[in-house]
């Protein structure tokens, strides 16, 4: 389900996509309203939240959706923003699109987790248009990026040909400027600070040198870097 970290023929390095999302989901606090972007971030909803109650918000106005619908039990009037047939948790509500985005822009969403092609060490990020592409796919990302209280990214550390995705400045058109606070990649967990990227945790089996060699932009590596806990992943 989580897919390969690298194209066929290359050995996956570090965290799986589910482990990446589990790590970000560990940051969610009880009662948070959470919006998950397309792609890798969707996997955050599979994480174990224990006693924490998390309310999942979807751009199409579904507030409080639950697990994916079982095959044969789909409600053909109900999907999340990823077009997946979902269930509703107790206390769910349906609003229209303008209200769903009113919640976003007015700061009611505690965290959004988005995918990205690039993130810069000043918190800019790019996820709607690839280099040289005509048009693109914005969806709700620009609204979420400026409206959510916290913007987290879940993304691969490098491109398929090994170039850094954590960079000094984005080379492709940005989604928003200066908004990202936390980034998880297959190599570790990075906080975006006023001094650039701070390596907070490193993936099991990955060396600091690998992180340094594959990260663009300013990177601070503390004297001690804990390993990402992947128990239960």
């Amino acid at each position: 389900m989580s897919g390969a970290q690298k194209p066929a023929g290359q050995k996956p390095v570090g965290l799986t996509r589910q482990q990446m999302c589990n790590r970000l989901a560990a940051e969610f606090q009880d009662g948070w309203i959470v919006n998950l972007g397309l792609g890798i971030p969707t996997l955050c909803s599979n994480a174990s939240f224990g006693d924490r109650q998390i309310i999942f918000h979807s751009e199409n106005g579904v507030i409080g959706y639950g697990a994916l619908a079982k095959p044969g039990e789909e409600d053909l009037h109900l999907t999340n923003a990823g077009a997946q047939y979902v269930t509703l948790n107790p206390g769910a509500a349906i609003v229209h699109h303008a209200d769903a985005f009113a919640m976003i822009r007015s700061g009611r969403i505690d965290v959004t987790v988005l995918g990205a092609y690039e993130v810069a060490d000043n918190g800019d990020f790019a996820n709607w248009k690839m280099a040289g592409q005509k048009g693109g796919g914005i969806g709700g990302a620009m609204d979420l990026a400026v409206g959510a209280k916290h913007v987290y990214l879940a993304m691969e550390h490098t491109t398929r040909d090994g170039k850094p995705r954590l960079v000094e400045r984005c080379a492709i058109p940005v989604t928003a400027r200066g908004v990202v606070s936390l980034v998880v990649t297959n190599l570790g967990l990075f906080e975006v600070t006023k001094h650039g990227f701070l390596l907070r945790e490193i993936a099991p089996g990955v060396s600091i040198d690998t992180v340094k060699a594959t990260t663009g932009g300013r990177l601070t590596v503390p004297a001690t870097v804990p390993t990402v806990r992947v128990a239960g992943a």
Partner: protein, 246 residues
């Protein structure tokens, strides 16, 4: 009062002229109106501009369901105002993208929340508004900005349309609408933004008064034409199937 109930989708779209601007509802198939879109493809109006979340079609409709690829193929589309022109995964094939990338159809990319609010504003008598969305991006180029309380905002204009094609679950003969679950999405604001609102209705149209006033999502004030669509498989309906995410 003249009846708002039309016998067929063909009847309901018959007078749409070349050059019309049409808001097309729905999100991930729910609330979209492919039966009206099919009727418009058959009617043949050209030079059309659409406002819609995505011209990609949906994996939650059966193969062959009319989408913007069909209207492009028939040379009816001038422009689409939307939040996506490209697929969200490289493996997806989107018929519309081919026409767009070849320069045969124009597109204006707009953030999804800005589309919704521009429609809402048009339906609310508000000519323009300021939003924080897209500040500092390529989409802000050439747009008026203003600082409020130390933060920069972009001026965005209302987006009035000639027609809206939407779908609802239940309706009464006055046009009071009820949507079901995520079928609601853009449809209430598209109904507000349009001069003529055409609705596919999934159940038999009820007598006036049959829907509790507290349970009406879109007032019949906004609704002009309704067609009771046939149950599946005699009309286009969403199906259970493979969603876009893995």
């Amino acid at each position: 009062m003249k009846s708002k109930v039309f016998a067929s989708c063909a009847d309901a779209v018959r007078d749409i002229p070349d050059g019309a601007v049409i808001a097309y509802g729905g999100f991930a198939a729910m609330g979209a109106a492919p039966n009206l879109l099919q009727a418009l493809a058959d009617q043949g109006a050209k030079n059309l501009t659409f406002v819609t979340n995505t011209p990609r079609g949906s994996p939650n409709f059966p193969a062959g369901t009319p989408d913007f690829g069909l209207l492009c193929e028939r040379g009816q589309v001038k422009k689409v105002i939307c939040a996506f022109t490209a697929p969200t995964r490289a493996s997806q094939i989107v018929a519309f993208s081919k026409y767009y990338e070849a320069g045969l159809v124009e597109a204006e990319l707009v953030p999804q929340g800005t589309i919704a609010e521009r429609l809402r504003a048009a339906g609310a008598g508000i000519p323009a508004f300021y939003t924080p969305t897209a500040v500092g991006t390529e989409l802000a180029e050439g747009k008026e900005t203003r600082i409020f309380n130390g933060r920069e905002y972009l001026l965005e204009h209302a987006l009035p349309v000639d027609y809206a094609f939407i779908r609802a679950h239940r309706a009464d003969a006055f046009g009071n609408l009820q949507f079901r679950r995520s079928q609601r999405n853009f449809n209430p604001v598209m109904a507000m933004a349009a001069r003529t609102v055409i609705v596919e209705i999934e159940q038999d149209i009820l007598p006036v008064g049959a829907i509790d006033p507290d349970h009406v999502h879109t007032s019949g004030v906004f609704v002009h034409r309704m067609v009771r669509i046939k149950p599946p498989p005699d009309a286009w309906w969403p199906v259970a199937g493979k969603a876009v995410e893995s």
